[in-house]
């Protein structure tokens, strides 16, 4: 029987985002909030192993009350318990403060009911920093395996896991003692289409609420703005490039279009250096 924990985040759907060109700020209205896709795959992986070994899955998230919807999606995928860690005191937390909050929560859960595996998505699609998972692992003092794309084996008797991760060299097969912390690629598991009773259970599920005081008494100097050494000095929109010329094949034909393009390319020093070289 395996006890797994997945840490998830609710994020705005960044593929659907629009920026107000005048103010440079995010148009948050109408942008759907979704369960971070990498986290969803991590939950799916946990569900697969729960199926194989029996046991349970706890999911936690640090966020506003709207993040309950993300927890319910995890219940839909097979998680058993969902905890929302929410408090105004957490506002303004950067990745250091966030890893503190999550690590303490994970520690509290582990003390009550020992964990075997902790999973994070490899990065959140809004922050894209990929720092929270490694930060939590370091605080817990547990082995960290990032960019995991396949869990080959979990051996609860001999207390180890074999995980495949992808690096620039190729595939590394890592053996780590349990409990271990993984950050996951989407490949690690496919999102299942939940059985109807599981979907219904998720619709009716009420997550547990943890605050900055209960059940874990957080050190206020390590959370929120106080606990965040980094802060955003300014934001803006990326520079708009000047669009270049376009040649329409329908108008001039393929041959002419290619000729025109080749002419332009050969007028550019960089290209010439490549073609000559």
């Amino acid at each position: 029987m395996i006890h797994q924990l997945v840490s998830v985040k609710q994020v705005p759907d960044t593929t659907n985002i629009r920026i107000d060109p005048e103010t440079g700020s995010l148009i948050r209205q109408g942008v759907p909030a979704i369960l971070n896709p990498y986290d969803a795959h991590a939950v799916a992986a946990a569900a697969e192993w729960k199926e194989k070994l029996g046991g349970k899955i706890t999911v936690i998230t640090m966020g506003p009350s709207a993040a309950e919807a993300a927890l319910r999606e995890c219940i839909e995928m097979g998680a058993d318990r969902g905890i929302l860690i929410s408090d105004r005191k957490f506002a303004g937390s950067d990745t250091l403060a966030t890893s503190y909050v999550l690590a303490e929560a994970i520690r509290a859960i582990h003390d009550e009911d020992p964990l075997d595996l902790v999973l994070f998505g490899k990065q959140a699609i809004d922050g894209d920093t990929a720092q929270v998972g490694p930060g939590a692992a370091v605080r817990l003092g547990w082995p960290l395996i990032t960019y995991a794309f396949n869990i080959r084996e979990i051996n609860l008797d001999q207390r180890y896991t074999l995980v495949e991760r992808r690096t620039e060299l190729g595939i590394e097969v890592i053996r780590a003692p349990l409990p271990a912390v993984l950050t996951c690629e989407k490949e690690i598991a496919e999102i299942p289409y939940a059985p109807l009773p599981q979907l219904i259970a998720s619709l009716q599920y009420e997550p547990e609420l943890w605050s900055a005081e209960e059940p874990v008494a957080y050190d206020v100097t390590q959370i929120g703005l106080k606990g965040s050494p980094t802060w955003v000095a300014k934001t803006g929109t990326p520079e708009q490039h000047q669009p270049g010329e376009t040649i329409d094949v329908d108008e001039v034909g393929v041959k002419q279009a290619v000729e025109d393009v080749m002419k332009k390319m050969l007028a550019n020093n960089s290209v010439v250096s490549v073609l000559e070289g």
């Binding site: 985002i17 490694p134 960089s270």
Partner: protein, 346 residues
């Protein structure tokens, strides 16, 4: 007082990763940006590299050729192959000993695995995947701070992050975001060997196997010509045509995230925010719509040619020249034209 600008010198199998050179160039520039403060205060500043591995001390020379004044080396068997725990322990110990002001790490798979662990252990701030770094005044701090700029929200927003009140100010940078600095021929500088105790429990994680992947030999980051294919190819076989054009130009094959997610080509070829940042001399995007997550990965290429049948595709906004048409007609015509040209010159 000596203000230290540190760069992690990533090496694998005794080969220094080019990003280390790029970051040494950045560190030297950052140092020059506080010249006024140094003059006023009488402090001095130094660029130092941190090298960790086994039998890698020779690489220190290369680092000095790229601008490091001094290199600290942790050279011992536990560090032969990268593992998070021992490497984190090594860097954290050195930071505590020497108290650098700025610490830069390449945002490679290894770097991203390592930097977060180091920053958290030191309880300091880390900004990931930065695209711009400079020293500037921020928030009533008497000294200039590292202003780290990075894309957020999938590339839709650019944010400048500052870390005050904690040191070192850490940042990771993707390869190829900054140019390689000039490589000096003769250098002098100190190489200091450091010893770090690694108790056995820190070695609990093992690398059991390394399987080289077919695509892993491909390093598109440093290629001069990249021809990329995207969803517009319609099916994975389209990449054969892409490869033909790439071969003709002596370049490599790249891909959009859509093509990689679809399983048409391996992740090693992915260009974009969650893939690789590239700045080749010639970038050809075929059948790629040009969503912002892809654009941020290639928009600084010297010459960009976009081929797409949809005239409203955003890729045309960033292209130097674009062709609106069917890539299955245009690319063969281009290949032919290139071959003719080669034949004529032969």
């Amino acid at each position: 007082m000596t203000r230290r600008f540190w760069v992690f010198l990533e090496q694998t199998s005794g080969v220094l990763h080019p990003v280390a050179g790029e970051l040494l160039g950045v560190a030297c520039r950052l140092r020059s940006e506080i010249a006024d403060e140094l003059e006023e205060s009488g402090d001095d500043a130094i660029v130092e590299g941190i090298l960790v591995g086994h039998n890698v001390t020779d690489l220190a020379q290369q680092a000095m050729q790229f601008g490091a004044d001094r290199v600290y080396v942790v050279d011992a068997p536990p560090f032969r192959h990268y593992l998070n725990r021992p490497y984190t322990e090594a860097l954290v110990s050195l930071v505590k000993k020497y108290e650098p002001e700025v610490f830069l790490v390449g945002a490679t798979t290894l770097g991203r695995d390592l930097a977060g662990a180091v920053a958290t252990s030191l309880k300091t701030g880390l900004t990931a995947d930065t695209t711009k770094l400079e020293m500037g005044i921020a928030r009533k701090n008497p000294n200039k701070l590292l202003l780290a700029t990075r894309p957020a929200f999938g590339g839709n927003v650019i944010a400048t992050i500052v870390c005050d009140s904690r040191q070192p100010q850490m940042a990771t940078v993707r390869p190829r975001v900054f140019d390689m600095p000039p490589c000096a021929t003769k250098v002098s500088g100190e190489v200091i060997q450091e010893t770090i105790e690694i108790p056995p429990e820190m070695m609990a994680v093992e690398v059991v196997e390394v399987i080289a992947e077919e695509g892993s030999k491909v390093d598109i980051e440093y290629a001069d010509v990249i021809v990329s294919g995207g969803k517009g190819l319609g099916n994975p076989d389209g990449f054969q045509l892409i490869k033909e054009l790439a071969d003709e130009l002596g370049g490599v094959v790249g891909a959009s995230r859509a093509a990689v997610d679809g399983g048409w080509i391996s992740y090693a070829h992915q260009v974009g925010q969650t893939g690789k940042t590239v700045r080749p001399k010639l970038y050809i995007a075929a059948g790629i719509s040009g969503a912002i997550q892809h654009k941020v990965g290639m928009q600084d290429s010297d010459f960009i040619l976009a081929i797409n049948s949809d005239p409203s595709a955003p890729i045309f906004e960033v292209a130097t020249v674009g062709i609106v048409g069917d890539l299955y007609e245009v690319i063969p015509a281009m290949i032919e034209s290139l071959r003719e040209r080669k034949g004529a010159r032969a």
